[in-house]
């Protein structure tokens, strides 16, 4: 497997984490209740922290400093799926996204923990422990709210329906899928997707939410190849606003 392929993999993971962590941090001080405000913030910090871990791996492979990579690229240079860049919306959407994304992330890190590249496996091992708690948090809330009353149930179902096409975009195949599989890096996006469908179905059933037939949902692709919604560039402009006052300065 080429270094180019490995970088492609690491970039998409790092970018997903950074953008979703950034989005979820927008709830800080604005959460529906203090306890949840605090919980959401710590998960957002974990996400931004894990993006840093992956940008650091990339830096070790010869890419620029994490700050430079994160704070100076424009939207077309980002490889995150479109799902993570969508605005936070109402809390039901943010929760559903957190649920759908972190379930995928947990499987990804579990698989990468077995990766023959020691440095990657190390990071994945550490992060799968972290994400396990995020998934537990998401499962609890999804079940609790969806089963609570009609209002909450309706909100959760609507967000789920809206989110699913984007969520499938997480698994947009890379041009290097076969290289990863052959080199035993990880079993590839299709494998994550299959396991993910299984895992989320179980929780969604317990939550009393209806999962549409998979073949009726069209995945939103493009993010992995730098094609983004109109929401990413404004997010990046905001994120880099201060840094770009003087990118060479020490802040």
């Amino acid at each position: 497997m080429t270094e180019e392929a490995l970088k492609d993999l690491l970039y998409k993971i790092a970018d997903d984490q950074l953008i979703l962590g950034h989005r979820n941090s927008e709830w800080t001080g604005m959460g529906p209740l203090l306890e949840e405000d605090i919980a959401f913030s710590s998960m957002a910090q974990d996400k931004v922290g894990s993006s840093l871990a992956f940008y650091t791996l990339l830096h070790d492979l010869g890419e620029q400093e994490p700050d430079t990579v994160a704070f100076t690229r424009n939207a077309e240079q980002f490889h995150n799926c479109q799902f993570v860049e969508l605005p936070i919306g109402e809390y039901n959407f943010s929760l559903i996204r957190h649920f759908l994304f972190d379930h995928a992330e947990l499987i990804r890190f579990q698989m990468l923990a077995e990766c023959p590249i020691e440095e990657v496996a190390q990071v994945a091992k550490k992060l799968k422990g972290e994400v396990k708690y995020h998934v537990m948090h998401a499962n609890t809330w999804i079940k609790q709210l969806s089963n609570a009353n009609e209002e909450a149930h309706t909100r959760m179902q609507e967000s789920l329906n809206y989110a699913l096409p984007y969520a499938l975009g997480i698994f947009e195949p890379s041009q290097f899928e076969n290289d990863f599989i052959e080199a035993g890096i990880y079993p590839g996006e299709k494998a994550i997707e299959t396991k993910w469908k299984e895992n989320i179905s179980k929780i969604l059933t317990e939550a009393g939410l209806t999962l549409p037939a998979w073949d009726s949902i069209e995945a939103v692709y493009g993010g992995r190849y730098g094609k983004h919604t109109e929401h990413l560039q404004p997010l990046l402009s905001e994120m880099t606003e201060v840094f770009n006052v003087d990118p060479t300065a020490d802040w």
Binding site: I38, N149, D250
Partner: protein, 332 residues
Amino acid sequence: MYGGGQVFEPSSTNNDLLKDEDPKKLAEFEARIARGEKIEPKDWMPKLYRKQLIRMIEQHGHSEIIGALPEGTWITRAPGFKRKLALMAKVQDEVGHAQLLYGAAETLGKSREQMIQDLITGKSKYSNIFNYPTFTWADSCFISWLVDAGAIVNQLANARGSYGPYCRALDRICAEESFHLKYGHHCVIHLATGTPKQREMMQEAVNRWWAPMMHFFGPSDKISTHTEILTKWKVKMATNDECRQQFLDMYVPKIWELGLTIPDENLKRNEQTGEWEFTEPDWEEFKRVINGDGPCNKERLAVRRTAEERGAWVRRALASKTKGEEYVAPMA
């Protein structure tokens, strides 16, 4: 974060509340406080004590949650990973402080819902300093360092007070505040010793924030309402002027050390008295802002109100859950 200069009950209310207390119980209560004992939620306490403490702790809690807003808006713009992660953690702490403080106030009989209701309707106050805007990154750095520093001065004093749950909350809060102070100080050092643009940014922030910072500790003791009984009951542990002096003594030299100037030509330490002298802050402006007419009062409350409204369905759902009315989804 936390502001000084709390608004206490007017003394007329004080006298009304005090006059029908059982003198024997009152004397025992005061003796306990004089011995340095802590008062706990189930202990007998004068109605006025309860009322003042609720007011004070509630205002403190509100200051934390409203204080999360001016800094919170910089989380999405913090320059670089280190700052972004630290600021996220700091603002999260402030929200955690609100949670702790509302919990302490609840032990006195007022529910969190009621407190938040009183906040968003403008009935209860919060620290005046958060009614000023953070225009630049440097403003948020000023808050993280110096407003938190001011808060620590207040909180350390109050942590020696008489109400057990409040003191314990403050002990935990102060431990976290020292991390905030370090973070804020580092941010300011980097700007003040950075590029010309960064230095200018920082100096402008100091110029903007100095007056609100002087207001932070509340009106001068010469003009503020009498609080003797609150001092005796160890509700108020240091006067506004004492806190302000302590802050100036600890931080003015540190600000000057960084080559920053403070926009008050009369500010100096009197070597004979050891006291800081300064231009008398504009207390009319302070009053105007605390009564709702500051640059950001409306916006801060509107943001908080919106957050409450947008989250109401979640709280309704949780409430219906605890009542056991589990929703059963209709079969598809």
